[in-house]
Structure formats: structure tokens, C-alpha cells
Symmetry: C2
Subunit: 365 residues, 2 copies
């Protein structure tokens, strides 16, 4: 049985609002349900992806939107939560326990996840930017990547975000000069090399083959895979050249889909920091190791058209879902202002904590 | 493909300890892995069921026990978390994304879940005992159930717990008189009608058919089903005679397993309050509506041999897993002091918040 995605919804990413996590999620789901051919009573699964401390969010949101699913739960997997939720939805349907599973990612500004407090191996360097800076220093030293190369990633993604009304930085126009000259945070990463954790909500509807065929333009999940390499930087710092979890997750997803990197037209990359976008190009297999910075110039595929985490902001549990939504609407031809032409296959790359875990999803029209 | 459970582990339920949630879970998993034929490197999934606010517990525990799974996440579904985790493990394997999934439930004493703060429909009556008291009052009025009937449930389960070294009340011997005369909490429910939230950890290993066949005594999941009816008492209080989510989940699980209530030899019932055990007998279909109190005297099946939530204590995210563990070890013939003879089929009943959600699992040797 094939599994597909039909409808998506994203609420405006913001600094903060008066809404609770449950209210944000409900608003997003109600908007989504208003635009799908699937009836509300047919929804038989709900997964809420969130770092929120609120208990029983699956059932609270179910009640608020008026569904009585066969399965519901909240999940938390740090920055990799969103696509973990989609993977669970996929498995619930594939195993025939459910037919139509909503996955909603929601985060309030006070969510956890900014500080990697558990990782004693980092000593005082327990902010995500610390490990990202080590990856960057290694890439600079070994492959000649420069601060200017990283600034180009940030500039590109911010420019893309200017076409995405839901993005946190939608109406903020930054010049390349502002970006490359921004304040140093952790050498060589500057303010504009880092994403901004914010509030946001994004939802998606995953369907069985039979239900998907009743919808207008189903987008099929051809490959979905995750890999986990522990939680601490110590467990992955033997080699700063690559992110092992990304390599394995991408390899497995490509294998499952019978596709190769050259078949992909559009990607959403987990650019929590600029350097991660370059590493991902290499580790997914779009280009050779060390060539990440030159890959952008080649312009062979559309990258982070949504604006990436750098341009959209990063509502932890919602990010992976919004990344997936972007690929879905691009393949459906519903991306409006930022629609890219001729995309048939897309890929989502979602990560957490020092690259200790990665999920890769491959989608096709 | 059939799905089975091989090994289980439970750590002593306690009031509190110096261990973190991750440490408790790791200890339990390491103990479990020491007793299964499945090798550590073969474990490709981990689900941590917990109300803990700690982020990224799936990956932290993975690192602490030395596994690098294909999928890991934390889930939270209040008192119904444990069996939600088992249902996800089942679906991950059935969908062929994983082959061997650990589910570990862990709770510290400071976990959330004691107060149903979100449920405005209850007004000031936002403690679980308030809704349980309404169910009890209705049962008293309509079916003639008495305080003494409820005390018998509590007495039975506490007696059972005296044979379970992992139970919180293992070494506490209460007389029927102590129980029936205990302090009133919310008319007609007394102190001994209520379970005690505590710290605890319980783990289980769910396997694909091929891997299960390599183990000594695999116990097969013949039916697994959940039902959700929102989150608030308002959404279910039209009729206090029964718990709708239990009725639907049990009906679906029996249908899936091709078994009937009369085929079940042993059950673990979610007795967060004594009255819930009587309601569950009726709603699962072991006896007619209103006959719950007389069903115990008939002694037709083994009930809450572990000691139930009343005798074991209730570590929120661990409870559903420990309930399942009890049925597994009873069917395997490994229950030691409290082993019951001739059990071939068992059932687990796990609930949350006013009966708004229920999971039912049917297991067979």
C-alpha cells in the first residue's frame, strides 16, 4: 500500500502570541480540514509534535477540533520531532491501524530545546552554535570554505523567505553586506548564520492509498527513513567532515524510493546554521564532500524555497512538518508567489542536536 | 506478519530516588537486554513513554544504553502513554520500518498528570478523583454497588501486590477493615479507592515475527486498539453508566484477534480508582452492565494479579507497559511467586483522564 500526503497548513511564524499550544494547533487543523476532500469523521489518528510541557495535547486538540481518533499522542524528539511524527503517521497507516492521520507541530516561544543541557561532554559549550562552529571551522580548514560562502547561504534563504508570508522574516529585507558583517557569535559563525527559535504551527494530513485517491493532487511518500547516533557531541565528533545520521537516513530513503540524488528537483534542508546546509548537500549526495559551497552556484536544484530555518524561524516541533509542507505544495503546484516550475520529486532533510539524528523523506507527485 | 513481545523488565516502583528519568530507563533497558536472545545491535527502535519534561529522551537513553536505532522518540499521552507506545512499536514493525522496538515507560515523582488543569468544564473539580466519584455515585444509585464492594476491589489488589516485589505497596499489609474505613476523599471514594502516583520504570521489547521466532517464549499481540473521546469530562458525561472509549477499544481489539471475552484467562485492568475496575469488567464484556461487583465473586478469570494500579502505585507513563509486562510473564510462565496456572490468553486495559481514552491489547502464547 502506498501512503500519500494531501493537505497542509501553516500558521504565521511569530515571536509570541496569546494563544496556547492547543489553540494554535486547533486553528491550523481546522484551516486544513476546510480544504481537503477528506471528511472530519474520517480522521482516525492525530500526532502532536511539540516540546510543550502541556500534558495530553493529542486528546485536548482532538476535542477542540471535534475528532475522535483511533490513535492520538504527543511526541517530542527535539528539532527532529516534526518528521518523526510524519514517520509515525506513515507507519500507523501502513500497518493498517489508521487510514487518515493528522500530524501537527506546534511550539510556543518558551519551548525547550535551545540549550543542550544534558550533554556534559560539551562542558560549557552546550549551545547548539558551539558544535556548529566546530563543523564550520573544520570545513574552512579542510575544504577552503569561507565566511562569505556561509553568508551566501543565509542571504539566499532570507531572500526566499521574502516570498513566504508565513515566514518569521517575511517582511525583513537584509542585504548581503548586513549578513556577512553581522556580529560574531561563535567563530566563524555570526548572527545571520544562526536560525531564530520562534513560535509557530504547521499541520499535514497523511492518507492511505485508497483515501488519497479521493483527493485532488496526492503527493506520495516514496521513501522515509530516520537514523539516530545517540544524543551527545562526544558520540559523533570523531569525524567532523560529515553528519553520519544524515548519510544513513538519506541512503536508506533513496534505497526505499528507488531514486537517486540526481532525480530530486527540490529540497528542504535543515539549515539551523548555514554550515549545515553545505554539509547536507554533501551528505545527502547532491555533491562531493567539500563541494557544498560550490554546489549552490551550480543551481541544479531548488533549495530551501520556503526560506529554510534561517528565513522562516525555527519553531522546534513544527519545523519538520513545515519543511514537508513546502515540498508538498511545490509538487502540487500550489506554492503561489514562490512556485517553482517542473518539480516532480522532492526531499525533506530534518535534523536534531549536533546532527545526532536525521530524518529524510522523499516525495513524488 | 505477526508481532510478538519477548522480554520485559520492571524496576522497583518507589516514592522518589536520586536517579534521573534517563538513568532509570537505561537501567531497565540494560537489565532487559541482558535476558533476551536478541542482540543489542539488532534493536532498531526506541520509544520512551513519559510525562517528564526532559527533551530528547529517546536519543539520550539510546546513547546511555549503547544503541543506534532507526527510529526513536519520546511520547506523552497521560496515563494511557505506555500502551500508546506499544501500539506505535507494533505499527513501526508491522509497517516494516523496524524489526525490534524497545518501549520504556519512566516517571519521576514530580511528573505531571495529577491535576487535570486543562479541563475547564470541571470547574473546581479538576482532580481525577472528582470524575471517578461521579461514576461511583451513579453505579451505587443505579446498580446498588456499595462502599464495601469497592473496598473488596482495593483489598484484592493490595493482597496481590504483596506477591509483587516491584510493587510500591509490596511490603504494606492492609486489612479489609483499614481499607473500608479509610478517610473519605470525594464521596463515596476513600483513600484506598485511589491509586498512588509514584516513580517507576518498566520496559518491553516488541519484535517482528522472524525475530520473535528466535526467542524462547514469544507472546503474540493478537489485538491492539485504542479509542479517544476528547479530553474533557464534558465530552463524555452524557452517560455515566459506561466508558465509551473502553467499549470501542475492546470491541475493536476482540474483532482483530478473533477472540471473545470468554476466551480470556487473565486481565490487567486500569484501576486508578476502584470503581473503574468494575466499570471495565462491564465495558470490556466480561459481565453484564451493573454486574461488576458480582463478577469478582465469580472468580472466572485472574484480575490484576500484579496488584493493579492500586497495589503497584501509578508511575504515569510506565503503568501501561508494566500492565502488559504482567500478562507477558504470566503467559510465559515466568511470574514466580504470583504465577497463575494454565493461562493462554490475556488482556491489558489502559486508560487516561476520565476514561477519555483507552487502549486494549490482547496477548496469546
Amino acid at each position: 500500500m502506498e501512503i500519500a500526503i494531501d493537505s497542509t497548513n501553516t500558521q504565521k511564524f511569530a515571536k509570541a502570541s496569546d494563544s496556547t499550544a492547543a489553540e494554535l494547533a486547533s486553528k491550523s487543523i481546522i484551516d486544513l480540514l476546510g480544504r481537503t476532500q477528506i471528511q472530519k469523521y474520517e480522521i482516525d489518528g492525530l500526532i502532536v509534535s511539540s516540546s510543550s510541557n502541556d500534558s495530553y495535547l493529542g486528546n485536548i486538540v482532538s476535542e477542540m477540533v471535534g475528532i475522535r481518533p483511533k490513535f492520538s499522542t504527543k511526541i517530542e524528539n527535539l528539532c527532529n520531532s516534526g518528521t518523526s511524527g510524519i514517520m509515525l503517521a506513515y507507519s500507523l497507516i501502513k500497518s493498517r491501524l489508521c487510514n487518515a492521520v493528522l500530524v501537527t507541530g506546534v511550539e510556543k516561544q518558551n519551548s525547550q530545546g535551545n540549550k543542550l543541557a544534558w550533554d556534559i561532554s560539551r562542558g560549557q559549550y552546550n549551545m547548539p552554535v558551539h558544535w556548529a562552529s566546530l563543523y564550520a571551522q573544520n570545513h574552512f580548514r579542510k575544504y577552503g570554505t569561507t565566511e562569505e560562502d556561509l553568508a551566501i547561504v543565509s542571504f539566499k534563504n532570507h531572500m526566499n523567505a521574502n516570498k513566504n508570508t508565513k515566514a518569521f522574516f517575511y517582511d525583513k529585507h537584509f542585504t548581503y553586506s548586513t549578513i556577512v558583517n553581522s556580529k560574531m557569535v561563535a567563530e566563524p559563525l555570526k548572527k545571520f548564520d544562526c536560525c531564530y527559535p520562534c513560535e509557530g504551527c504547521s499541520s499535514i494530513l497523511v492518507l492511505s492509498e485508497a483515501m488519497a485517491k479521493r483527493t485532488e493532487i496526492p503527493i506520495w511518500i516514496k521513501g522515509i527513513s530516520q537514523n539516530n547516533q545517540g544524543a551527545s557531541f562526544a558520540s559523533i565528533s570523531n569525524n567532523l567532515d560529515y553528519i553520519l545520521s544524515t548519510r544513513i537516513a538519506a541512503r536508506d530513503a533513496f534505497q526505499q524510493s528507488n531514486l537517486e540524488p540526481k532525480n530530486i528537483d527540490i529540497v528542504e534542508i535543515h539549515d539551523a546554521f548555514t554550515i549545515l546546509e553545505l554539509l547536507a548537500y554533501e551528505d545527502i549526495g547532491f555533491t562531493d564532500k567539500g563541494e557544498g559551497r560550490r554546489f549552490i552556484d551550480k543551481n541544479t536544484l531548488y533549495t530551501n524555497v520556503r526560506g529554510g530555518l534561517l528565513g522562516c524561524g525555527h519553531p522546534i516541533g513544527a519545523t519538520g512538518i513545515d519543511q514537508t509542507n513546502e515540498i508538498v505544495i511545490q509538487l502540487q503546484g500550489k506554492a503561489g508567489l514562490r512556485q517553482k516550475k517542473g518539480c516532480k520529486s522532492g526531499l525533506v532533510h530534518n535534523m536534531a542536536a549536533a546532527g545526532t539524528s536525521t530524518t529524510v523523506i522523499i516525495l513524488q507527485k
